[in-house]
């Protein structure tokens, strides 16, 4: 098919904003970052091509262990978010009708009107040694001294799950909404119980929503900086904090850039493996 000049111009103009956005904000910085990651400082202001930055990640245990820890905790956070969000989404999508349904759905959205930073500080007010929970525990008599609930892995997990909830609930509600009630009833009518109906009918139907929700939550969690650093403190050992340290504290842009690309590559690998294990495809999920 040949397009007229004016049609082609129109198409170009339509595509221009997205192309500018993609090239200027994604492709160019990443290309430059990639080049930075592939060089080594041999003397002041002299660089040469090297893979040393990448090698450092694998030879220095702190780095790859930090990454492994981040990945495992992100997977755990994703799984917990799914476990909590699924019943919530099912309730919103299938049990409720009309205004209450939209109201509860909106309620899931409300926390996101506040910036993540403010929300995280909210958690800190609740959980710190001199915070609300600590005082309540002492007042009730559950504790004799102030309790510090910040700066541990459990707190990081709570924060991550809380932050991710919406991104799991939205795709789940959307897919569960499209499940015909008659399917569930047929599942029971033919002898299924709550568990088999869930396993054979509801979950397979919701699979695209589960997969896309999990991918989004996993990526957001893995790349999260604020929540682990603020709630986990120095010991959070989150990989993004490691990247931040290289860029800002150590001025080692080369290593930081290499870490950035490793994060991208390794997280993509984990998502790919996840899709393989659950026998889903990206096109099925997104299409």
């Amino acid at each position: 098919m040949t397009l007229g000049t004016s049609t082609r111009l129109g198409l170009f103009l339509l595509l221009a904003p997205i192309l500018v956005w993609l090239i200027a904000l994604l492709v160019l910085p990443h290309a430059d970052m990639f080049l930075v990651s592939m060089r080594e400082k041999v003397a002041p202001r002299t660089y040469e091509f090297s893979l040393a930055n990448y090698a450092e990640f694998f030879t220095e245990p702190l780095y790859w262990r930090t990454f492994a820890r981040t990945a495992i905790m992100s997977i755990a956070a994703t799984a917990m978010t799914l476990l909590i969000a699924f019943p919530v989404s099912y309730y919103i999508a299938k049990m409720l009708r009309g205004r209450l349904k939209s109201f509860l759905f909106l309620l899931c959205l409300v926390p996101f009107w506040v910036s993540e930073l403010v929300r995280t500080f909210g958690w800190m007010i609740l959980l710190r040694e001199s915070g609300v929970f600590s005082n309540v525990f002492q007042w009730v008599g559950l504790a004799d001294a102030p309790v510090e609930m910040l700066y541990n892995d459990a707190t990081i997990m709570v924060g991550l799950v809380y932050t991710s909830m919406l991104f799991m609930v939205v795709p789940l509600v959307t897919t569960l909404d499209s499940l015909d009630d008659a399917q569930v009833e047929a599942g029971y009518d033919l002898g299924g119980n709550a568990f088999t109906v869930l396993r054979e009918i509801i979950v397979p139907h919701a699979m695209p929503g589960i997969v896309s929700g999990c991918i989004v939550v996993f990526m957001l969690t893995l790349g999260n900086y604020l929540t682990p650093v603020l709630l986990g403190g120095k010991d959070s050992l989150w990989f993004t904090a490691q990247i931040y340290t290289q860029f800002i504290t150590r001025f080692n842009w080369e290593l930081g850039a290499a870490f950035g690309f490793l994060l991208l590559a390794l997280s993509s690998l984990i998502v790919w493996a996840g899709l393989k294990v659950t026998r889903q495809t990206l096109t099925e999920t997104m299409g």
Partner: protein, 374 residues
Amino acid sequence: MLETTDSFDLECRSLVRRFGAFVAVDNVSFGVPQGDFFSILGPSGCGKTTILRMMAGFDQPTSGDILIKGNSVLDVPPNKRPVNMVFQQLALFPMMSVAENIAYGLVRKGLGKSEIADKVKSALDRIGLPTSGDKSIKQLSGGQQQRVAIARCLVLEPTALLLDEPLGALDLKLREHMKVELKKMQDQFATTFVYITHDQSEALVMSNHVAVMNEGRFEQIGTPQDLYYHPDTAFVAGFVGDSNRWHGTVERADSSGVKVVTADGVSLLATPAGDAPLSKGGEVDIFVRPESVVLSLEAERVSGMDNRISGELISILFNGANSRALIRDSKTGGELDVALPQTGEFSTLAQGAEVHLGWGLAQAKAFAVNGERP
């Protein structure tokens, strides 16, 4: 067939279901004998689906009892009731293959792998889809999906199969075909069918017994012939089959029949029908089937009949053996629907021709008007 005995496969006693102030099912009682094809026929919103859902266990009656093989099942959850339901939109599981759909209930029963495979295979053979086991549901045509939905239930050998307007989603031609097919399947599996429909031809063609339902109540239960030839109420007369209808006032009522005068001043003789007695001055509806009207070109042919009308032919609705003639009464301008015999006598009949109509008083049924008319 309404006497309460234990020989019924399925029985409802004084079933009531209220939604707030609205009474969806109002004191309905009936029994379905073993192997029967029982239909509940009614306009949409009459409560027939509510009855079916209560029998399946998805809804609880406000009062009354549901018995399967003589035992009350009110406390039995849907997955434990020995009845299965074919849903209006079929509700086949799209993520499973045809064979997996049929096997679903058998797997839930905990049957062995080889036994399930045998049963699925024989079910596929019986519904004429022996090689479609591995296909996905989307690859099947509407009629094939229909058969799978029914087979999926029948492999479980339920006491009764509940069908909720399963032909509603099909196109006309397929619907006609499926009527015959359903009846055949019922014979083949020898299972009791309870069939819900708003389509009278589906109910009449397939059923042994039909209950006509209106506004939460059963108007009449009987064989299709009963309903057609001996309707108990004006609603049944109007809803089952086609009818010409007049509304009028009783001028004289005696043992031989009633004389009714319509608002247009037409005098008609009819037989009283229904429970309510007809008395002078009472309002009645008269129903006359199109096929009980004699159509003639000569006035003498109908001169001996109780009711006579002359009119002009407006149009012929040709439909083979079911052809109709639409005739306008020359006195009142009212229109009549008359069966047009395809004997050749009327083959030259042209629009505008003058024709004479006549029917006996036995063919005209007069029902007292009480409340709303269908």
